[in-house]
């Protein structure tokens, strides 16, 4: 099976700090492979282990993205393709899906595209479905369990209104959840082997054609959400602390 797995090198929100005026310091911010994408890579690797084939790890992002690609290759990806796009000028969901679709079409015959439920830093969950549209492939979203048998893919889909078992013919796009699998940790040997592999660089200009969708996307403002909480610790033995809590809540008027 020729598998493509998508990942995003996301801003590490736990390490992200704000400047004195409350704007996030994005330049030089620590990044990491989006948590959910690890599940995507793991799923791709499991399918490859079961059915054979290759995995192309594909991402659109800045220079730091190579770290994430190598991580995915250490887990079991065969090769990496990096669409270079500086974070300051990153396209929106539709633009991202556009570039990914063009890159995937260049790869040739693809049986399965694996992505995750969303990027850990922006979490909009749009790119997967848009990509499926642009590739004219069915989209199996929010798959808790994935099975490929005889040219068909079957999954358990978890929507808020219920869980259903779906099936469609390959090629298809599937998005997995954090509970779909437990991502493996590569051994040091696997990391070393992966770090020696070359990653293909692709320029945006090489992919952009006259049909590029200009949506006028713009980040207008980014400000810190201040946490204005009392942070009062109620001391004492359980019974004592419980009493204090209920009194405080009565005073707050929420009981």
């Amino acid at each position: 099976m020729n598998i493509v797995v998508l990942l995003k090198n996301a801003v590490d929100e736990a390490e992200l700090r704000a400047d004195p005026s409350g704007h996030p310091i994005l330049k030089g911010a620590a990044t990491k492979m989006s948590n959910f994408d690890k599940n995507g890579v793991e799923e791709a690797v499991r399918q490859k282990e079961e059915h054979g084939g290759t995995i192309t790890v594909l991402t659109l992002g800045g220079a730091d993205s190579k770290k994430a690609i190598r991580e995915a290759m250490a887990m079991g990806g065969t090769k990496g393709v990096h669409i270079l796009a500086e974070p300051e000028a990153a396209p929106d969901s539709l633009g991202t899906a556009y570039y990914l679709a063009k890159a995937i079409k260049r790869i040739g015959e693809v049986d399965l595209v694996v992505c995750s439920e969303g990027a850990s830093d922006t979490y909009q969950g749009q790119v997967g479905a848009m990509l499926a549209e642009l590739l004219d492939m069915p989209f199996l979203a929010y798959a808790k369990k994935v099975e490929v048998v005889g040219g068909k893919i079957r999954c358990e889909q978890g929507f808020e209104r219920g869980v259903r078992v779906l099936e469609t013919k390959l090629p298809a796009v599937v998005s997995v959840l954090s509970e779909t699998n437990v991502p493996r940790y590569p051994t040091l040997l696997q990391v070393m082997v992966a770090s020696k592999k070359a990653i293909e660089d692709v320029q945006l200009s090489a992919l952009k054609e006259s049909d590029y969708p200009e949506t006028g996307f713009e980040v207008v403002a980014l400000t810190i959400q201040p946490v204005n909480r009392k942070r009062l610790i109620l001391e004492g033995q359980p019974e004592e602390a419980a009493k204090k809590l209920l009194m405080a809540l009565k005073q707050e008027g929420v009981l």
């Binding site: 909009q124 989209f139 929507f159 469609t168 996307f217 207008v220 959400q225 602390a241 209920l246």
Partner: protein, 308 residues
């Protein structure tokens, strides 16, 4: 006249999204239309008009059919803004609609406003640490978070029916494993008791549900408890990837306070944290905290509440 469309497969959310639609439509001087698929839901409280789309099949069963129906209405009604309720189903449908119509799609919307020729959406960013205002030129798609707008007391409105020819679906439903869970009422609850990994086993959640009963609240939890462990339903999941809640009182029990969870509770009036780890990040975002063993604190609270 051109229009602003609103849609959600969830009845309650559909009412909220249509209220958002009316606000945006008024700002643009356009007509507000709420889309219903297959049947008009009982309990729908729309603002503006309703367009019902029907085809040979159940359109709301399949994201492609739902998207295709919305695209048809959008084209017929010259829609400039398409608002979809932010659920998993909604996200997929919105994305498909946006891709088919070559429009931008902005997710997780908490507030919408029109600025010049663009729709500006206010949403959480970076795990909820920051607030972002993002814009897309009209026409565009946007997702509206539950609880961001209040459904209005809509009077009965005239319904226009559009019939479509439902296309072939590429995806086959083999089995329905689980229908919707019993409404936990998380999204509209005024008091929530929420459970995290501090609970050792599923049966211990009884302590949390006892407290919830005594305090008159609903039971919810962090993602691991619903998704990974299956101790709670998907619709009891609170956080960035689950529900955003707006209670007067939120009691987080045995929850460490990861950003992803905290993002969903920020609009609570009062937050209480109970955890035996004094370094747990939840204490940084709580109004009141008890550093202690939940297995002792919860029964103590429940007992005091029962005794008045």
């Amino acid at each position: 006249m051109k229009s602003v469309l609103s849609y959600s497969e969830d009845v309650g959310l559909a009412g909220e999204v249509s209220a958002a639609g009316v606000e945006v439509a008024n700002a643009l001087g356009l007509e507000a239309i709420a889309i219903e698929l297959d049947v008009v839901s009982v309990g729908l409280r729309p603002s503006g008009r309703v367009v019902l789309v029907q085809g040979g099949k159940t359109l709301e069963d399949d994201t492609d059919l739902a998207a295709a129906s919305i695209v048809e209405v959008a084209k017929a009604k010259g829609s400039q803004v398409l608002l979809v309720g932010d659920t998993r189903f909604g996200r997929v449908v919105a994305a498909k609609v946006a891709a088919r119509l070559r429009m931008g799609s902005l997710g997780n919307g908490k507030k919408l406003r029109v600025v010049g020729e663009s729709l500006v959406v206010t949403r959480d960013a970076y795990g909820g640490k920051f607030l972002a205002d993002v814009a897309s030129k009209l026409p565009c798609v946007a997702l509206v978070q539950p609880g961001s707008y209040s459904a209005s007391e809509g009077a009965a409105v005239p319904v226009e029916t559009i019939t479509v020819t439902a296309g072939e679906t590429k995806i086959v439903v083999k089995e329905t494993k689980q229908g919707r869970q019993a409404e936990a009422g998380i999204k509209s609850a005024t008091v929530i008791v929420s459970a995290g990994r501090g609970f050792a086993k599923k049966d211990d959640l009884l302590l949390a549900s006892d407290l919830a009963k005594a305090i008159g609240g609903a039971l919810g939890g962090s993602r691991p408890l619903s998704s990974d462990l299956g101790w709670l339903g998907e619709d009891q999941q609170i956080g960035l990837t689950g529900a955003y809640v707006h209670p007067k009182l939120y009691i987080a029990v045995g929850i460490s306070g990861q950003l992803q969870h905290v993002a969903g509770i920020k609009d609570s009036k009062v937050i209480v944290a109970i955890n035996n780890d004094k370094q747990a990040p939840i204490f940084q975002v709580a109004d009141y905290g008890i550093v202690g063993d939940l297995y002792e604190v919860l029964p103590a609270l429940t007992k005091l509440l029962k005794n008045g």
